[in-house]
């Protein structure tokens, strides 16, 4: 787990982004490449345009599940019901995914009881969250696993920059210590929000940094 790949969606061109087919093909193309290159687990930073941000998440998760992965979706952006219903509408099999509902916890609202939903307390610290992610991964039975974090920029609304950075760092360390280095990690950020400092800091976990764009 020694790479950071930064995929820049905004270079695809705004007109193209409006065309769903082009967009979805793009996701599939990059994910195909990703799966071929990183079967042993990887650390991926996804930059996607704000206007098609959730679509990018759905397509990425859908593709990974179709490729035989099982995963943990850490949702800071949306509450469990909203994520789960959208996944179901897109034909995503919820039995292969656990959703950690951080969004509801952030606003201290009543928690949802669902076997696919992992609730956390509103005062959960990053270290505890990492432990919850780790425990959730252990509940999944598949060989190929992923963690998808949605999103670092939303966490940054509630936590300091150093706390935000602690999440990928602690997660990497925890997975390494428990011999789970084959788990692939995805961190999504809206393109306009990508802070150079954040990308630079995350690249420190890697041997290689790749920035991809399709068009000018």
């Amino acid at each position: 787990m020694t790479r950071v790949n930064c995929y820049s969606y905004d270079l695809i061109g705004k007109d193209n982004l409006k065309r769903t087919i082009v967009r979805r093909n793009y996701y599939k193309t990059f994910l195909n490449q990703f799966v071929k290159d990183h079967e042993d687990g990887s650390f991926v930073l996804l930059e996607s345009p704000a206007e098609s941000y959730f679509d990018a998440n759905i397509q990425s998760v859908d593709y990974l599940l179709n490729e035989g992965f099982e995963g943990v979706y850490v949702s800071f952006q949306r509450p469990f019901d909203n994520v789960a219903n959208t996944f179901i509408k897109q034909g995503i099999d919820l039995n292969k995914i656990l959703i950690i509902d951080c969004a509801t916890a952030l606003i201290s609202e009543k928690k949802k009881k669902d076997p696919r939903c992992v609730n956390i307390r509103s005062d959960t610290e990053i270290d505890e969250l990492v432990e919850i992610i780790h425990r959730s991964l252990q509940q999944l039975s598949g060989c190929k696993k992923f963690v998808f974090v949605d999103s670092l920029s939303t966490i940054a609304l509630y936590k300091s920059f150093s706390e935000v950075l602690k999440l990928p760092k602690s997660l990497l360390e925890t997975l390494k210590d428990s011999n789970n280095e084959n788990v692939s990690l995805f961190f999504n950020i809206a393109a306009e929000l990508t802070k150079d400092a954040l990308v630079e800091s995350m690249s420190s976990y890697s041997n290689e940094f790749i920035h991809l764009g399709l068009c000018t």
Partner: protein, 183 residues
């Protein structure tokens, strides 16, 4: 240009609980905003309007003049309180000012829970609200409100002025929405 038709076209197939981010230019702002509220009022049983641009009375007169059914609307007026004698009641609450985000959030929360049937929330506008709030704090407020809206199945529309809204906050809010439209 018929902005209502344009909006209807853009939002034709989206569910009523979708949250839409609508960006427009200052020269079209009033017409687009009016078209948006007409559309939301036609599609829903009730709605909440967070007004940072027009005082309650002016807003209601404006809507009535444009054949919008105001009986189904509840207004959170964030600008009149310190300027005229105001009293809460009927379909309005006067809030201290646009920076009173906690108050706005509490009243939104109460109203969203009270309303039955299909309901909407309309922010008019985040550009004005951002003049009076720290971008980071405001983005957190919007995330909190939008999460509550999703928990209670409330759709909504957030209107913003192109080029005059903090780029990063706009991106943060846009990614929290289900659809982004530019008119």
């Amino acid at each position: 240009m018929d902005y209502l038709a344009k909006l209807e076209e853009e939002l034709r197939d989206i569910p009523s609980d979708y949250i839409v981010f609508l960006e427009t230019s200052s020269d079209k702002f009033i017409e687009v905003s009016l078209a948006a509220i007409k559309l939301l009022a036609n599609r829903n049983d009730s709605g909440i309007i967070v007004s940072a641009n027009r005082p309650y009375k002016n807003l209601i007169d404006f809507y009535k003049k444009n054949d919008i059914d105001v009986s189904k609307m509840f207004i959170l007026d964030c600008i009149s309180k310190n300027q005229i004698n105001t009293y809460n009641g009927g379909n309005v609450v006067f809030l201290e000012n646009v920076s009173a985000l906690t108050d706005i959030s509490v009243h939104l929360d109460e109203r969203i829970k009270m309303m039955n049937g299909s309901k909407f929330l309309f922010f008019d506008s985040i550009t004005t609200m951002l003049i009076h709030n720290e971008p980071h704090i405001f983005a957190r407020f919007v995330h909190s409100v939008l999460t509550k809206m999703r928990l209670y199945g409330t759709g909504g529309l957030i209107i913003s002025l192109e080029d005059r809204t903090n780029r990063e906050v706009k991106a943060e809010i846009a990614q929290l929405c289900d659809k982004v439209i530019k008119i």
